[in-house]
Amino acid sequence: MRRDLSYYWRMSLAVTAGAAVASAVLTGALIVGESVRGSLKDLTLERLGGIDHAVTGQRFLPDEVADRLASDPELSASFRAVAPAILLQGSAEHAEKKTRASQVGLQGVDSRFIEIFSGGDAIGGEAPDLFAGAEGGVFPPVVVNQGLAQALSAEVGDSVLVSLQRFTQVPSGSLLSRDDTASVVKTIRLQIHDIIDDRRLGAFGLAVHQSSSYNAFVPLDALQKALDQEGSVNALVVSSQQPDASPEDARAEAEQLNGLLQKHLSPEELGLLVTSRDGIVSLESDEFILKPAVAAALQAEADERNAEAMSMLSYLANALRVGERQVPYSTVGALPTPISEAFGPLRLVDGEPAPALDDDEILLNAWTAERLEAQVGDPLTLDYFVVGPREDLFEESRTFTVRGILAMEGLAADPTLTQEYPGIAGSTNMSDWDPPFPIDLGKIGSEDEDYWDEYRGTPKAFVGLQTGRELWGNRWGDLTAMRIAGPSEPGELQSFTESFAAGAVKRLPMAAFALGFQPVKALGLGASGGATDFGGLFIGLSQFVIVSAALLVSLLFGLATEQRAREIGLRLAVGYRPKNVRNMLLIQGGFLAAVGSLIGLVGAVAYAHLMMLGLRTWWLPAVGTSRLTLHVSPTTLIGGFLASLVVVGVTIFLTVRKAGRTPTPQLLRGAVADRASRSGKAARWTAIIALGLAFSALAYAFIAGELDSPLIFGIAGPCLLVGLLAFFAVWIDRPQAGALSRPGWGAYLRMAVINSRRHRGRSLLSTTLVAFAAFLIVTVAAYQEDFSDMELGLDSGAGGYQLVAQADVPLQQDLGDADGRFELGLPDDAESLLENTQVMPFRLLPGDDTSCLNLYQPEQPRILGVPEAQVERAGFTFQQVSEEVENPWTLLDQELEDGVIPAIGDFNSTQWILKLPLGGELNLENERGEPIRLRLVASLKTSVFQSELLISEQHFLKHFPNQGGFPYFLIQTPEGKSREVLEALESGLTSYGFDAVTTGEKLESFHAVQNTYLSTFRSLGGLGLLLGTLGLAVVLIRNVMERRRELAALRAFGFRKSTLRLLVLIENLTLLAVGLLIGTVAALATAGSHVLHQVSAVPWVAILSTLGAIFLVGWIACWIAARGALKAELLPALKAEV
């Protein structure tokens, strides 16, 4: 074998090279996939260090909860350590330079956190003392990572101002919440103590994203003090005894931690205010409203104990009016009437118990009735505020009939029925009130002050509980308190109260308080499998190149076999069994395939290395991290080697089989079987079937109006490619009509075609190679889009908006309204610019980025609440809709089955990242921990909404009531003013961390990912083209070598060398042109849906120039090959026979 292979060393080398290319591309693709997965895993381990579980949320808990947990033997049995921390997100501004950065992670940490983080196996480092030597500074020290320092142009010693959302128990956006900037935003000044690099602790983050984060670390106690949260934290991090736990085990651990947390939290720490007196246990919330889940837990606990429970709601009325008389700013109680005696008497002035109330009836206490001179049966109008859709207050009124007058005793004189409202409760006088909502202190008279002095916030009127719930219930709940009837003896009552509270806490779902531990490491590692299987993607991208390499191997091995045809014939003639000859060739071919595949592994590593280098550098915008590194495992190498061995081996087997079918005399003449008739029949059928399929698909697309179906075009294109190649195979076999008579280009062209038929297999293979390369390259070119000069109109992916913005601190005010802008403190000089600007605010549930910018698989997608105004405005273009309606945005308002929410997503994200088809459902949990299903009812075409899913604001508020304010905005600016508006808003709303980009830039950033894949496609197409031209060149040289005598004879007949070169060139350029034509037609059919519905302009110039470039490359390759092949003197070929 060695002598055979070395004698035919050129061909052996060529076959080995072909196998090496196939192996390199195939294994390289697998390595790329492994590298991306491995890198994401590394990044996950790096950003989490030794943290396996974490709980973080809006609610602050005492930091000693960490100690309680740590000292619990159940915890220490399964977990290594617990650390408290404050984890917040805000914006940072350099105090002097005014440079800004948004989405800054601000961490309040102590040594416990650092120890847990540093103890991770992936890090293995010592716990650094981040703040050593920082004591005694005027401002709290902060350690920032390099990314943040660079963004702020900050150095050690510089001061930075960090703005955060101020923590408040009152739900943001509710009547009792304050929305002025000073109440919403907390700005703290910090001094940079150190700058750490962006790796390890500097890369810390719980969010599943590969992009570098801006991080700032402050000593826990200093941050607690700065935030007025001494002794409190909003996060706990835990390291497990089993850092490599399976996802299921990790989830079980998280559940165990939730149980432990619940066990160690007191009712007060969960915001439950428990008091008792006179045989009654009173339960309220520090949020001023009982969440439905909390109310349900209390009711269940009461039911369990057979204790009587009374739900209550108190609300502040702006006025109680009877005729011209009115009492301002009064509390109204909503109670279940008639009241059970267990909760105290509620009697009319005549001593009778208060009656049951209809929904239009009201009870007044005697003081109020007297003030209003109201009698039973009088109509009474009640004015009160409600919160509007944009967190704004509206006054509404309801008229009741006075059903009775209550004596000023019992419940009617109980000030504890009313909660201690912020800005009101501590006031000595009503005129000192400073409530969060607007009041007219001028309306308060001396009688009102007297009532305040005597009865404080005692309700002046009562309505039925159901009526109150309907009027004043909101997205956070519809009860403010619950009373439980307990033992009357004080000692027993105390013990009952404690027991009841403890029992209720056990029933409280931690999810309702956003206090559920998450197995962050397991989730991150799970998500590092990636939204996109890069291995599969690259194999998909490379399949044409792999097939091309296999075809090239087939071509080369076929030529090698033909070269040895006489030898094979001789062996058969002298008595070798065909099987032995075939085995000999197979063994030799297999050996070459194995050597080539082995060598290809080196190329695979180099190829993958180059791809990773590309992803880290040229294609950085697509992956958002320069931390992707090469990961090569023996398993992948072995897998790639075996796969390429199979591909090349099968190719060689098929080629050898062909030689085996050749009659021995033919082999002795040096020829291998011409199976034209046999394969011609197969080609004819292939052409009929494939072209039939392709045209049927295209006809269906046009007739059924499915011109936007990538699937149909995806079928039509490749079918067309195969069909046209098969058709070419049939055509090339057909006898050519007419005879050569007139010299010139026509004759040369016909001669070229006729010559191509001589080695039909070779011609077809080289045409196929070129067609594949052209198919790949033209498809890529057709998919290229450029948004830079695009008109971003109403129907574009920008929906007619010029800016898209996000704020770290949600805005409560209407940015599109002059009053709102005034309240936000935007400067007057910006008003002229902003008054003609339309702002569409969206509610936002933070979550995982669902766009292609996030390499991880999103588990909890970001969700936007789409305001009704956007639904009415409509715009954007829909790729798919579940039902044909005039305005697909209205599909969001549908009421589907219980727990099912209609959702819209960007097609690219839902299709490729979330793998969510139209009508498909995504299972999530709402804020109360209840399961919900987001059902995709429509998808948008190439829009700015690629990072999130969209649901209606109404559904959003129902399921995520605590996501107050508006952190996401689409902004339509006056023409040509987008940059000015952007700057005005960013500089005016610095403390909110307002960050805007143009919608064009946003679309471009998403597009960068597509561009990356297209660039990769292009590179692979280039490689395919290289193989194609290599194939052409090999065929050309081989043909010339075989036809030396023929060419020499032509020379003898007077053909010039240049004419012969031209003939050879035309022959190959014809194949090149046919390959290009077939590949291009098929590519355009594949990209047909995209070309027909492309949002941006079809890049015809790019397509044509790409085709021109391919032809030029092919022409140059053929020219070089023809020139080289015909350089040698031909005449000795004639002489040799004499």
């Binding site: 006729i754 010559n755 005598r1045 032509l1050 005449l1131 004639l1134 026979e1137």
Partner: protein, 230 residues
Amino acid sequence: MTPDAPTLLVTDLRKIYRAAPGADEVEVLRGASFSMDKGSNLVITGPSGSGKSTLLQIIGTLDTPTSGTVDIEGVRPFELDDDQLARFRNRNVGFIFQEHHLLPQYSVLENVLIPTLAFTDPPTGSEERAKELLDKVGLSHRLGHRPAELSGGERQRVAVARALVNQPSLLLCDEPTGSLDPKTATKISDLLLDLHAVEETILIVVTHSMELAARFDRRFDLQEGVCVEI
């Protein structure tokens, strides 16, 4: 060319080969000289390796002499550049080889027409002449056939027609009957001599066959590069 001047004048042709740089020189031709007029014929005989084919190829301008000259109808072809030489050969020299060198992918007629396609200004009526020649060689019924469908003799007859299609002044044949059976060889030699007479070309044939050689007016014998007229 003067009216009395010979059509072909070969003067002191010498050809020295060197297999490789530094290798010994081999003198294949040692001063061959002769002249021929229009319509005359000549056969060259000699043992293998005596230089017969080399002499023929130099006369046919396929090869160049180390020294000496060749005049064909007053033209010294080796003084022409490559393109001119190709054109000269195309119009003035017809070749017939031992192997027919028919192109298998073309029909009989197309094969005959091949020399007319070398330049964009072929002699007028090429196709008619090709058909006429094929008629003369007895293959008018085989115009559309492929070489693979012909017998050895028929293929060589096509080669004869092809050699004459451009009405050359020289018809050079290198072992034209070497691979044919005696009966077919006789037919081909008859055909060659007949057509040569009709077309009034100079006919030079290289052969080992004494039987064929006996039918020519003049005979040169080449012995170790020396040309002796017998």
